[in-house]
Amino acid sequence: MISNIQQDGLEGLDHNVITAPLEKLVGWARARSSWPATFGLACCAIEMMATGGSHYDLARLGMEVFRASPRQADVMIVAGRVSQKMAPVLRQIYDQMMEPKWVISMGVCASSGGMFNNYAIVQGVDQIVPVDVYAPGCPPGPETLIHAITTLHDNIQNGELLRRRDARGAGANITIEQRDGQGAPQLVQLGRDR
Amino acid sequence: MVVTDTWYLVLSALLFTIGFVGLLVRRNPLIMFMCVELMLNAVNITFVTFANALDDVAGRTAVFFVLVVAAAEVVVGLALVVALMRRRPLLSADDLTALRG
């Protein structure tokens, strides 16, 4: 049982009368206190900050605590286009975040590259980190972002996300194609065996 | 068993010795300072013990003075160390000869 916990966290437990409500409680807490990492990239970052402003007020959801240090953040909102130069940095910050962690891909550029299908932009941040919720729009308005966040919260509370992620081998198992002059293809393995 | 003054005095003597040996053994000026503080503390214990034994507050007064003088000593001492180490990053008391004119 202990080894289960060490491997999979709380979700690895065989649930019984005591642990099941505990997990519900933890789910409740996590959903209501998911602190975002300050990870603004482009236009979407402006809308993300606007969502924190007085008209929309992310604080209602307990989310005004933008943590500058990834160690203390729970949700990474990838707000904006991810360039090739930024990709390793983004991945590093994701790795620095502690489990459990979630990713919202905000805007079409982060989700799919958007209108910038060119040499500079990563065509979808889900090639780098596992994404839990995609918020559409260019940029998504605060209402859209809040919708994405509440969707994430629902999923956190129901514990669905980790289960799904486990089924997929803890995230984005991506093979990277080789480009001329670049290194050998690498398998990006996410998971808890770090 | 009762704790008598002798206990305190022996403890103080041991602490003093530790500080003394440290002062001789270590070469890092900062640590040497710390050892001096240890010795001062040993003396303080003695003072307080004797103050109680002789029923005279003068011993405690002396501790007070020791505290103040220790603070002054540390300020000057650390200033010396800073000035020295800025010139030469570490780290031996032998470098203190650099302070000769």
Binding site: Q84, K85, A87, P88, R91, Q92, D95, Q96, F116, N117, N118, Y119, A120, V122, Q123, Q127, I128, I174, I176, E177, R179, D180, G181, Q182, G183, Q186, V188 | -
Partner: protein
Amino acid sequence: MSDTGETEQAETDVEAETGAGDGAEQQEMLYGCPVTESRGQRVIHPSRDRWAEVAGELLVDGWNMCIDVTAVDYLTYSRGDGAVRRLPPGVEPQRFEVVASFMSHVRRERLRARVQVPADDPTIPSLYAIYPGSDYLEREVFDLMGIVFEGHPDLSRILMPETWQGHPLRKDYAVGAIPVQFKAPTAQ
């Protein structure tokens, strides 16, 4: 955005100073370079060899700010419609063209310089020593177009990762649909 009468006044002054007209016949000259008009804006065409020298003259003459440095790759210019580059006589068209814009705050005027840079030797003197403001702009041109600015103190990639290969703004570099390149963080 047309120039005012004041501009023309200044122009004649400049010509008087520099004593234009030792080159081609009928060709207006400025700082010893052919000058043309493009949509009402004045453009000079210095040669690559004289580039640093001309820039020095420009600064002395009161063009006190280097506003912009960029470059154009004319590799596929005459696509389709068979458009022709309009260059004054005496200026040999090359594949690359470095374009720099200068401003004179006193005269409230702009001046553009277009320098031809051949494809087989894409180098040009750096303006950094004369106009330090061209620092980043030249680095950008180097990064995206691959033109080497000789004498620049820190000519390195500025927008692309340092290990990137190729120069994206060249016309023989595909625009997009490039497979995603990703390197795992090496040290954490």
